[in-house]
């Protein structure tokens, strides 16, 4: 007989957390609506931005999915040295600062990069990375590993008996097992990548641009930063919001897949496929991932000691923002997860449909009449980053909170534990691992964020990703490379420290 879980509930912290999330998402939207200037309507350039945004997101999602299928298939059935390292690496792009990855991609595919040097050598014309193809390349770099992991999870969810059955029947694994699995996994994966590409700002900022490769978010940035046309920025922010809500509703209805599955190291015993073909797929995917990162390290090391002092100051500011944002995000996530329930679940996914530029525009409009927005740049960045990381952190800790409630809720209730004792001495100790993982996630995401800060930062208070972006813009590539290396190191170190902190001395 299944019985409903009995739990000790806390109300006001979840109320405050929900309120804050609502203010950051819908409150800023309200400010945007009030300020939006529709008199000019959407111009040709705006429509082009909308078309480009949707097109590039569709192409990015389709390409990521199509390319991930053979890679996941190969990974699921091959054992080789370094397999588990490669699978771990597939999770890394999520933690990777976008500017760092873009720098690596430029070092491989950009002007004077490996690919163009090779083309030169062969006497072929160079290819340009900027524009549509660059944006797509950037998004595929980030999302191919994500989709690969999702499909790999799908493979591992198939019981091994089915493979034995297929093999003994001499049936086609592709027809009997792979296609049904892909039909389940791919729609969700496609939508997630579509949504991510729709709201990704930094890739478009660094690799797009120009009238033919401007996303709506980029247009918001330009309207606010270059033209200081608040009405137009607000109108574009509304357009972006509409796009996100449309896509977000889809994702929510299909159920966003969980990319943090554990136990991906297992390999399936299989009797089909060609080893050489699988080898090529895995090799190409690994090269596509590792080469750009390798270039960051290679080019970054020489200038590391010559970095100007203001880069180190920017690194310090970023660490501060990342720590504060991770702390805030974790407090919000815990308050919401401990409360539980359908309302909390909805509030938890709201930020997925929010975009940092829309939130940023709203906050800018709210703050601008009162004081100089640059003074609040770091505070605003902290708040926005914490809100945007919330859905991921909730996904990391939510299931564990539910498990503790299911395992110990009744015991706690029958013993009469107060909410304080329950949270302090039961929940928190039992949640150490997911809290460490979630905090690491939030910290790394915030550390690498190049979104709302671009709207607010003046000359002084820039974060490390912004400082690095400005170095790239000024063609100081050597310094940018070293800054990228510092940023990469700090992001991964933050994640590692938090994650390890949750793993040591845990009684399970």
């Amino acid at each position: 007989m299944a019985l409903s879980t009995f739990t000790i509930k806390t109300r006001w912290p979840s109320g405050i957390a929900a309120g804050l999330v609502l203010v950051v998402t819908f409150g800023t939207l309200g400010a945007v609506i009030l300020r939006a200037d529709f008199s000019a309507g959407l111009g040709a350039a705006d429509w082009a931005a909308v078309r480009f945004t949707v097109t590039q997101a569709l192409v990015s999602a389709a390409l990521s999915c199509i390319l991930a299928i053979p890679v996941a298939r190969a990974l699921s059935r091959r054992a080789f040295r370094g397999r588990s390292v490669l699978i771990t690496l597939l999770g890394a792009p999520f933690l990777l600062p976008v500017v760092v990855a873009v720098f690596g991609i430029l070092a491989v595919f950009g002007r004077g990069g490996i690919v163009n040097s090779a083309l030169d050598w062969a006497g072929l014309p160079q290819v340009s990375i900027y524009g549509f193809q660059g944006v797509i390349l950037g998004h595929v770099f980030f999302n191919l590993p994500l989709v690969t992991r999702l499909i790999l999870q799908g493979w591992l969810a198939i019981p091994s008996e089915r493979f034995r059955l297929a093999a003994s029947l001499d049936g086609s694994v592709s027809q009997l097992l792979e296609r049904p699995m892909l039909r389940q996994v791919l729609p969700g994966a496609f939508l997630v990548v579509f949504l991510i590409s729709l709201t990704s700002f930094a890739v478009a900022l660094t690799l797009g641009g120009g009238p033919r490769a401007t996303t709506v978010e980029l247009a918001i940035y330009q309207a606010l930063r270059f033209d200081f046309d608040l009405g137009r920025a607000a109108m574009l922010a509304l357009v972006q919001f509409g796009l996100c809500v449309g896509a977000g509703t889809f994702v929510w209805r299909f159920g966003a897949p969980n990319a943090f599955g554990i136990g991906l190291d297992r390999r399936i015993e299989r009797w089909d496929g060609h080893a050489w073909l699988d080898g090529i797929c895995i090799g190409l995917a690994a090269l596509f991932l590792i080469l750009p990162l390798g270039m960051v390290v290679l080019r970054g090391v020489p200038g590391l000691l010559d970095l100007p002092a203001d880069i180190w100051w920017a690194a310090g500011r970023s660490l501060l923002v990342a720590t504060a944002s991770a702390t805030l995000c974790m407090a919000l996530a815990l308050a919401l997860a401990l409360r539980g329930g359908p309302m909390v679940a909805i509030i938890g996914v709201l930020p997925l449909a929010a975009s940092s530029l829309v939130i940023g525009t709203g906050l800018f409009l709210i703050i601008y009449p009162v004081m100089n927005p640059t003074k609040l740049a770091l505070l605003v960045t902290t708040l926005t980053n914490a809100t945007l990381a919330l859905p991921f952190v909730l996904r990391a800790i939510g299931p564990s909170v539910d498990a503790v409630k299911a395992d110990f809720g009744r015991l706690g209730a029958t013993l009469g534990l107060s909410p304080a004792v329950w949270i302090r001495h039961i929940m928190l100790p039992r949640l150490r691992r997911p809290i460490g993982f979630g905090a690491g996630l939030a910290a790394a995401l915030s550390m690498g964020d190049l979104g709302v800060i671009t709207l607010f930062a003046g000359d002084g208070g820039e974060t490390l990703p912004l400082a690095m972006y400005r170095l790239m813009g000024a063609y100081k590539m050597e310094a940018a490379a070293s800054a990228a290396l510092v940023l990469l190191g700090l992001s991964l170190a933050l994640f590692w420290i938090c994650d390890q902190g949750g793993r040591t001395n845990v009684d399970l």
Binding site: L3, S4, R410, T414, L417, S418, V421
Partner: protein, 231 residues
Amino acid sequence: MLTFENLTLKQGDFALRGDLSIPLGKITALMGPSGAGKSTFLAAIAGFFALEAGRIDFDGHHIEDLAPAMRPVSILFQDNNLFPHLTVSQNVGLGLRPVVKLTPIEQQQVANILADVGLSGLGDRKPSALSGGQQSRAALARVLIAARPIVLLDEPFAALGPGLKDEMLDLVKAQLNTRTVIMVTHDPADAKRIADAVCLVADGTVSKPTVTADIFANPPQALRDYLGDMG
């Protein structure tokens, strides 16, 4: 007496009714097929399952509206009876007062109870450093120290081997001799070993308790169906 007046439990298609009194200071076994509602019945007594209708009367007081912690009830579940990250002493101490730090006097009480169940000197260990039998003893120690008059056992010893299980049952009989114990079991040997009376839970009804020796000497049809050849 622990009296159930027109007790009705409902969840979806499931329904369980009972109109019975359980004698105080005795051990009563609940027997019946799985899914019949034995655990649900215990959950209702402990306060985890709201009644559809009826009353639960303990010693002249209605307890069906009280919060779990306010009921005169201790319960041992099938598993998760100990918090894995707390020491044995802390776990047992929670029965005395729901805090993690106890006064020296309270700590002495915990040490005494641990000695009673044969766990002297093991108070500083985490549950994972105990054997399965020792973990059961630690959980029982918390029930002992809580000193609540009703003790519900939802098959807490089911995962132990037969020898250890009998040992625990004997410990229950020896240590809980003044309490009203209601235990779920599917093994007639458990009931014969320590139970004074047996209630059948079958066909949507909790039947009135029957003296253990009598019910096995002359089993009703529902019990015969359940036991098969074992009886």
